[in-house]
């Protein structure tokens, strides 16, 4: 019994162990290359974190336009009209609105109101992770959803740093409480089983440009939340045009973006309250 065993052991230790070690080493090299090389899923992420320059994302707007938004936290009064108009125009279930409005406090304890649409990141984590490319960058900087392609895996929802995505757990069949007071639906309801999010009212932008209107200037071509704001806290427009209203506001005011450390390069800028955050 014991003789047999030692024999087997000797056979194992010579050639085979070397073979195993060699192959393990080779695999390790291959794995190393695949996780750090250009094929790696981490590569874009590193780039975004190292060069923190605006519009370097792989989804950076390459066209004539880069649609963006400035939200003035100092002006916002927390009336939630943006949220309601959004729910009405895009026929969104108000239980999980695309626009959120929350009461916030600065570090000194003063109240301000914080609103958040989809930030349309130029390095959007959701676009990176989608296994079917159902969410993608357009050349005008928008991050859009293809509801016909989405398989409902919800990885984008998990990956979005700003909680801007919601999943249709069931078909939204209830009556929309904000219709018609805050607007009428301009797009279809999304089917059960897909992820949805704010589109910057893409249907208005595309239709407006076709009929010669300028989004950000003509209300018919501008997102619903911008037009309805009673205090003008939201400005929408082309970030690439130095003469657009939004570019002037950005030039004249101190602005921040949410979680710059993540390198997602959002297209939504915030003017902080006057006293600071």
């Amino acid at each position: 019994m014991s003789k047999k065993k030692t024999k087997v052991k000797v056979e194992l230790t010579r050639r085979d162990v070397l073979k195993v070690a060699g192959a393990a080493f080779g695999s390790a090299i291959a794995a190393e290359f695949l996780t750090t090389g250009p094929l790696s899923p981490f590569s874009s992420l590193k780039q975004g974190q190292i060069e923190n320059v605006p519009e370097t994302g792989h989804g950076a707007a390459t066209g004539e336009f880069h649609w963006g938004m400035v939200i003035n936290l100092d002006a916002c009064i927390g009336c939630e009209y943006c949220q309601r108009a959004c729910c009405a125009v895009n026929d969104v279930n108000p239980e999980k609105p695309w626009n959120i409005v929350v009461t916030e406090k600065t570090s000194t304890g003063n109240t301000f109101y914080f609103t958040r649409p989809c930030l349309h990141c130029q390095n959007a984590p959701c676009v990176e992770v989608c296994p079917v490319g159902a969410t993608y960058h357009r050349d005008d900087g928008l991050v859009v959803m293809d509801y016909d392609r989405c398989i409902g895996c919800r990885y984008c929802q998990v990956a979005c740093p700003y909680d801007a995505r919601s999943f249709n757990w069931k078909t939204y069949t209830e009556e929309n409480p904000y219709v018609p007071t805050f607007g009428v639906p301009e797009v279809e309801r999304r089917p059960r089983g897909v992820v949805e999010k704010c589109t910057f009212c893409i249907h208005r932008i595309d239709a407006g440009l076709k009929s010669g209107l300028m989004p950000g200037e003509d209300p018919e071509a501008t997102p619903a939340c911008v037009g309805i704001c009673p205090v003008g806290a939201r400005t929408f427009g082309n970030l690439k045009d130095p003469n657009s209203k939004i570019s002037k506001i950005l030039a004249e005011n101190p602005t921040i973006r949410l979680r710059e450390d993540l390198g997602a390069e959002p297209s939504v800028y915030y003017i902080p309250p006057k006293e600071g955050l």
Binding site: A23, A31, L73, F114, R149, G152, T171, G193, L277
Partner: protein, 407 residues
């Protein structure tokens, strides 16, 4: 017909076997009822919601795939590294791997919101997505396992009438080293990418770290073969036949034991780096939240470390214990449980910690809460029923334990 019945060995159906099949039938029925509920009413019938969109089913996917890692590990050992004496267990390993991967795909189809579009990843590519790569690898690897396994199926008497199947099988058998190589590459890729699925999500402090893919693949390579030897041991008990020499099982257990130690080593340094040396405020805060809201610490230390690593490693590596088949099986079961707890902890804990993106100081999302409901458990039970059915049928009808050198 008459000749067919004569040539077939009379099948012995014992009351115990009948009871076993009845149990499997009940499990699968529960699974089917739950599945119909999900397909009919949508994912709203689960306890998942927007803050915790992944839950029990993703845990099942990850665990089943990790536990199927015995297939590529043992195939590589036999066909690439040429350690032929492990050949008797390769068929079983590949079969268990096949069950694991097919179970994962079944659960995935349940879990996606649009099961009718399950084929989209093959048509619409996003090569930047780890999940896309995983879907591709899993399907390719499933095909490889079928190719590896077809020769075994053709050995069944049923194929006596179709001699050409044997010729195809012979060619496939000759290509086994090629399949093993391809399987090794693809498995190394997707087993670690499953960890990367979490590791690349930069907004989630609990997940975002480079050790994720490494821990996933090490744990899979360690626990996969452990499950294989456990299945082998249990099958030997049930059938009362000595099918694989204890020496082989013990050697694989030792391999698995060293694998667990390597996994534990990386886990230790990961823990040290995350909670001690490289303590980031967001991570500390996240861990605090988890410890206050959930039994995270207990699950980690007792479930993942003690049950999943320390005890099985001792059972697999100490000569006194690893000579005892019962203790080997126990170690394999514990390592399996450890993997499942780890995948659960990874998935759910990362989602429990709320995102933080507000510029102010007050608005913090509430921590997530999630526990699977009956429908989700029902699907899980159905998947277990499927796995047990496949094992039973395989043991009954397929030559899982011969070495394949008959021709």
């Amino acid at each position: 017909m008459a000749t067919l019945t004569e040539t077939r060995k009379p099948m012995r159906i014992s009351p115990g076997f009948l009871a076993w099949m009845a149990l499997i039938g009940v499990l699968i029925t529960i699974g089917l009822i739950s599945a119909i509920n999900v397909f009919w009413n949508g994912l709203a019938v689960t306890n998942m919601y927007n803050a915790v969109p992944w839950g029990l089913w993703i845990t099942i996917d990850l665990s089943a795939i990790a536990l199927g890692a015995g297939a590529f590990t043992l195939s590589a050992i036999v066909y690439l590294f040429g350690l032929k004496r492990f050949q008797p267990i390769v068929r079983l390993a590949v079969y268990v791997g096949f069950i694991g991967y097919s179970a994962a795909l079944l659960t995935l189809v349940m879990d996606i919101g649009r099961p009718d579009r399950f084929w989209h990843p093959w048509v619409y590519w996003n090569i930047h997505s780890v999940l896309w790569e995983i879907t591709w690898c899993i399907t390719i690897y499933l095909t490889i396992m079928v190719m590896e396994f077809l020769p075994v199926i053709t050995e069944n008497k049923f194929f006596d009438r179709m001699p050409w199947t044997r010729e195809v099988a012979h060619v496939l058998h000759k290509a086994a080293p090629f399949f093993a190589l391809l399987g090794l590459g693809i498995s190394l890729l997707h087993q670690s990418s499953l960890g990367a699925t979490y590791g690349i999500v930069k907004s989630r402090p609990i997940w975002f770290k480079p050790s994720m893919p490494i821990m996933f693949i090490l744990s899979a390579v360690a626990a996969g073969p452990a499950l294989t030897i456990t299945v082998a041991t249990i099958v030997q008990w049930v059938t009362g036949k000595r099918l694989i020499s204890q020496d082989i099982l013990r050697t694989i257990a030792r391999f698995s034991g060293f694998g667990l130690l390597a996994y534990g080593y990386i886990k230790f340094w990961d823990l040290a780096a995350v909670t001690y040396y490289g303590r980031m405020p967001s991570v500390s805060q996240a861990l605090n939240t988890l410890n206050q809201q959930t039994p995270y610490n207990f699950a980690f230390w007792v479930g993942e470390v003690l049950v999943g690593i320390v005890i099985p490693a001792i059972l697999f590596l100490t000569p006194r214990f690893n000579r005892n088949p019962a203790l080997l099986a126990l170690g394999g079961i514990m390592a399996t449980i450890g993997i499942i707890i780890n995948r659960w902890d990874t998935t759910v804990s990362g989602l429990f910690v709320p995102l933080s993106y507000s510029p102010g100081t007050q608005y913090v999302l509430p921590p997530g809460t999630y526990f699977p409901n009956l429908t989700e458990f029902g699907v899980g039970i159905g998947i277990i029923g499927y796995a047990l059915l496949m094992i039973t049928l395989g043991v009954k009808f397929l030559p899982l334990f011969s070495n394949g050198e008959h021709d």
